[in-house]
Assembly symmetry: none
DNA sequence: AATGAATGAGGTTTCATTCAT
DNA sequence: TATGAATGAAACCTCATTCAT
């Protein structure tokens, strides 16, 4: 990479990290492009060389940050000796919840975006050099764990929405209780949900 | 109520309904106070007579609309012959999901705010003449159904977050599938969650 | 005075005193009519029954407050045994300076308006029931003191401007020194000014 | 200075001179920022690039205009053959009074600000490229004139306040008489004041 | 005489975007 | 590529004033 290219990347990165800091501290609506470029130490015009507007850089950041978090969680799973889908899934959830509990700004930022849309590549614009997509990582995990079955997607959807939504409330507002206290109930609920998808589906089996 | 008072209420109501319409059609960020007052047919100063700013009227609207929806659902439950907590709960959920499916603008507006905070009176400012609070309605429902037990709050929290979060995705984006298709799985999952809270709690019972 | 008349005067007085308080604490520009009526506990429309606008009540207040101060000073002089113009003049100045030093808000308010214009009835609008005008009080003082002479008006003008201007700086900002320290020099200067007007006027006498 | 820098200065200067013109013709309160930028031919945003608000540009203008006037007066003194403090002082006063009599708008603008605060660098913000401070100019004049003595500052203060205050009344309102008529009396008074500071101070010497 | 809800002109201020350098 | 002064539309908000009650 030439000197020019390096310099270019440096400015872009400065914009990314500054924007993230400002979005998480003062919020999207109260962050202006002027704020970002000033703190990043680049000129106003430079911003427009790389991003269309505030929402453009926001979307790219969400996509990037979420992907990064899942990828780290996935790597952590792979470094354990765990086998089987369920243990690995709980490890993954645990990892993510811990990370978010430690970085509430991040949680607030990706917020309820930690949901299904993210997994299905609903985002049009990605960081160009982003790694593998999240959904494929989970599929990988399931394949590696010998897990396979119908309705798998629905099961994942249900679990992800439940985890994302409850952790938002428990971590950020300690409502109705802190995450650590709620976790046992959440995991128990997830275990039951897994079973609800393993047993003959609604309307399929004999429910007499 | 005198002529003056009536006129006062009329203006305020015009602001409320116009703001709701604009928020749900073009979004909060793209709705200006000028838009609201112009469409409502009142002067700009009048807006500031009743609301601090855009966010003030938004919050009051969310609180009001959510409360209204729950109250209607509660009333509908009471008009049925259903007895027992579970059937009533499913009727309530069904009622709300149907209402939201029919009014996606409302869903998008109260969006993921259809969550725990709403139930616990976390909102400081209510419409002055708002009816009973939502949480007390649910408690009423449970008491009437002879349902009582510890961890009831946790159970409600878990279910509400799951329903709110999944319906957002299924109704608004048909992701991963339309609500009607997902419903059987959701209800089955809820049934299992209910059971997970009925059985001895995590770490409490014998889990051999 | 009937009950109605009394009530009327009460409201007007409330407006006067509230306006004075606000003008002296937050300044004219930052005081709104809304502020005044709210604090005075009367309705907005009531303000317009008695005053044209903010500047109207301001002018009437200045005129009133200045006249009041001079009248008190005059009365104080009259209660002493002092005779002769000079001793009485210095007593008068002393009285006023002390009063202003004790009430800096008042000084700031009548500020540099404590000047010639005030003495010559330059103000069009007076408080209807204001007492005798200031200039006639001084004339009275001079007549009572057996003082009379040409150029008397010029002498008074010169002294009043000097006192008003220097006390503004010394009392409010202690610049270049506090009033108490400056006073001896001021009085000495005034004594010399008196002499400058007693001696043959400029261009009149033989100045060889 | 580059083309860009020149253009920048041109805009700022246009704002300064337009603001001065409007402030002096229609007054501060009745001049809006919209008026200024429109007449100056720049965009509204440009104003906020250089000034905080109306009061900011006003203060900078007062400081600038007063300094300019004093500097011109000082230069004029230096071009004469006058020696000794008193003749030079009277020349200086004369110069300033004439200038103000010819430019009543300027007098009204710097108004009673032509006072002690100005001399002691009480102003925090100056035009960046402002010349020497006024007080140091007077000190220079006194040093050059071989004049030195205690209480010099007090003497200057007394004279400046007297001149500033009386000229305001005489020039602007011809009250109690036009400046030209009052001048002989003013100068005679100043001569006496000078003597009052030359003779043993109040309470210091034998005044029998 | 007194009220105070309603007005809306008109002010201030912000900020995304452009473009000459 | 990078700059940052300049723009000006468009937002916000205030407040003196009116007038029906």
């Amino acid at each position: 990479m030439g000197k020019l290219e390096l310099n270019k990347k440096k400015k872009k990165d400065a914009l990314y990290s500054t924007a993230f800091e400002l979005f998480t501290t003062r919020g999207l609506a109260k962050t202006t492009i002027s704020d970002i470029v000033e703190k990043a130490g680049v000129a106003k015009g430079t911003f427009y060389l790389y991003f269309k507007d505030k929402y453009d850089i926001r979307n790219k950041l969400i996509s990037h940050k979420t992907g990064e978090l899942f990828y780290k969680a996935y790597q952590a799973v792979m470094e354990t000796d765990l086998t089987g889908f369920e243990p690995r899934l709980f490890f993954l959830i645990d990892y993510i919840l811990d990370a978010l509990a430690k970085d509430k700004a991040l949680l607030l930022f990706i917020s309820k975006n930690l949901s299904w849309g993210m997994f299905r590549g609903a985002f049009d614009e990605k960081l160009p050099d982003d790694g593998p997509q999240m959904y494929s990582l989970i599929e990988q995990l399931m394949a590696d764990s010998g897990f396979s079955g119908e309705k798998t997607e629905l099961m994942l959807f249900t679990i992800i929405e439940l985890v994302g939504s409850t952790c938002h409330s428990c971590i950020l507002y300690q409502q109705p209780m802190p995450m650590e206290e709620y976790k046992p109930y959440l995991y128990e609920a997830i275990r039951h949900i897994l079973r609800s998808f393993s047993s003959p589906g609604p309307g399929e089996g004999n429910t007499d």
